[in-house]
Every structure is written in structure tokens, then in C-alpha cells.
């Protein structure tokens, strides 16, 4: 008896949708990514077990290891910090200013920064690294 074997069809996996998924993922990450704007600033943040993760604020002030002050990633002398922060706060409903200071900075450098920000009416968010207890 002769049995006719069915011809096997070659398996074809539709791969066009894979490219669509890949592009959708790429677009999602491009839209939602928030890049580090202050990569050029050298600083080592202080560590403490008493801090928690917090929401990122729109205004950022940084005092780096060389004692240079940066407002929104741009150099800013301490004499004009108060006015600069006041102007930025006018555009924001949230009065929080993220303050990042190098751990070895001395009080004679960071003291005037605290006072200027306090006078500008900012709510200070002191940023550091969480240390495990």
C-alpha cells in the first residue's frame, strides 16, 4: 500500500512585528529617560544612614570639591546665588532646591550657600548617599 506523504511546509516565523516592538521600546526609553546634567561636576557626596530616597527637584545647586558653585549645572558665584534661585523659584510651584555639596567642603564655603538659599525662600533638600545601618 502506498501512503502519500504530505509535503511539509517550511516553518516561517513572522519577524516583522519584532522590529516594531524593538522600535516601540527604543522610543519609550528615549522619551522617558532623564540624563545626568551634572556629569562634569566633581564631587563626593556625604553618606548617612538617616536619609531616604526622594523625588528629584527642578532646581539644583552644587558645591564641588574645588569649592566652585553651580546652579542648574552652570557656574554661579555665591554673591548672585540668592537672586538666581529667586528667579528660578518664581517659575516653579515647588520651592525645593536640591543641594549637593562635596563631603570635604569646609563650613566657610558651604555656610554662605545655606544662608543665600534660605534668604531666597528655598526649601532645602540635602542630598547624600544612603549608608547601610
Amino acid at each position: 500500500m502506498s501512503v502519500r506523504r504530505k509535503k511539509r511546509m517550511p516553518a516561517k516565523v513572522p519577524t516583522t512585528s519584532m522590529a516594531d516592538i524593538a522600535f516601540l521600546l527604543i522610543i519609550f526609553f528615549m522619551v522617558t529617560s532623564n540624563f545626568v546634567k551634572e556629569g562634569h561636576i566633581e564631587l563626593t557626596q556625604p553618606r548617612s544612614p538617616d536619609i531616604d530616597a526622594m523625588k528629584e527637584a527642578h532646581i539644583s545647586v552644587t558645591l564641588d570639591k574645588n569649592g566652585d558653585l553651580w546652579l542648574q549645572g552652570k557656574p554661579c558665584p555665591v554673591a548672585v546665588l540668592e537672586e538666581g534661585v529667586k528667579a528660578l523659584l518664581l517659575e516653579q510651584s515647588d520651592k525645593t532646591v536640591m543641594l549637593k555639596i562635596d563631603k570635604d567642603t569646609r563650613q566657610e564655603s558651604y555656610g554662605p550657600v545655606f544662608l543665600a538659599l534660605s534668604r531666597a525662600g528655598a526649601e532645602l533638600a540635602l542630598i547624600g548617599e544612603k549608608e547601610k545601618e
Binding site: 527604543i26 556625604p46 562635596d102 569646609r106 563650613q107 533638600a125
Partner: protein
């Protein structure tokens, strides 16, 4: 005149491109670490640099170099002892005016120590007061 035979269409194999793209995406999803800022929010009221203006009820912490001098008797404490001493104050049960802690650092105090002390005050529900050092009046 006979028409020339149409050339067969060149169809490059594109399915491997999407594989590479997906592999790259998976690699970056797995290896990316997001920077989440860690810190605490403080809303400091200003205090006068003149110690005679400070109320007796307000707690004062003096910082000199690497030393923490706590309270009116200027007891020398480590950061762990300070944390315990601040928790003993039970600020949570007190009104805001009795929760103010004045931190008075000397010019040589590193930010690392100041940050540790401020965070310990925040953890104990104290309110940090900034020292006004210059003559500029507050608006």
C-alpha cells in the same frame, strides 16, 4: 525588439536586525542603573549668631573640627551618641518652638560632619536653625 528581462529584486535578510536590536535593548534594560536622589528636606528658620538671643529652651550643638559638643554643658559626643541623645529629647511630643536645634559650626567643620548632624536632627524630628553670620537683613 524584445524587452529586457526584469532583474530579480534584491531582498536583504532583515530579520536578524530586529534580533540584534532586541538583544541590545535587553542588555541595556538589565545593565542600566537609575540614579535616585537620596536626602532629606529641611526648612530651616534663621537664628541669630549672638548666643544671648537664643532662648534657653533651644538646644545647641556646637561643631568644632571633627568634634560634636552637645547642649549647654558642651558634652563631647560621637555621632551615634548624638543620635541617641536627640531621640531622648522626644521632639515629636513637643510644639515646633521647642523642637528647634541650633547648629553652630566653626569655619573648619567639614560638610560630612555637618550633614551627619543635620540628618540626625531630622531623623529625631528636630527643626534645624541656621546661624545668621553677616549683617545683611532678611527681607
Amino acid at each position: 525588439m524584445p524587452l529586457p528581462k526584469p532583474k530579480p529584486l534584491f531582498e536583504p535578510e532583515l530579520s536578524s536586525f530586529s534580533d540584534i536590536a532586541l538583544l541590545l535593548i535587553i542588555f541595556f534594560i538589565l545593565t542600566t542603573t537609575f540614579i535616585v536622589p537620596a536626602g532629606n528636606k529641611i526648612e530651616p528658620p534663621a537664628a541669630s549668631a549672638d548666643p544671648s538671643n537664643a532662648e534657653e529652651k533651644q538646644l545647641t550643638i556646637a561643631l568644632t573640627g571633627q568634634e560634636i559638643l552637645y547642649g549647654p554643658r558642651a558634652e563631647r559626643l560621637s555621632i551615634e551618641e548624638l543620635r541617641a541623645a536627640l531621640l531622648e529629647q522626644n521632639f515629636r511630643a513637643k510644639p515646633p518652638s521647642r523642637r528647634i536645634v541650633i547648629v553652630n559650626p566653626t569655619p573648619d567643620v567639614p560638610y560630612e560632619l555637618y550633614f551627619d548632624v543635620v540628618m540626625a536632627i531630622h531623623r529625631a524630628d528636630g527643626i534645624l536653625a541656621l546661624i545668621e553670620e553677616d549683617e545683611k537683613p532678611r527681607k
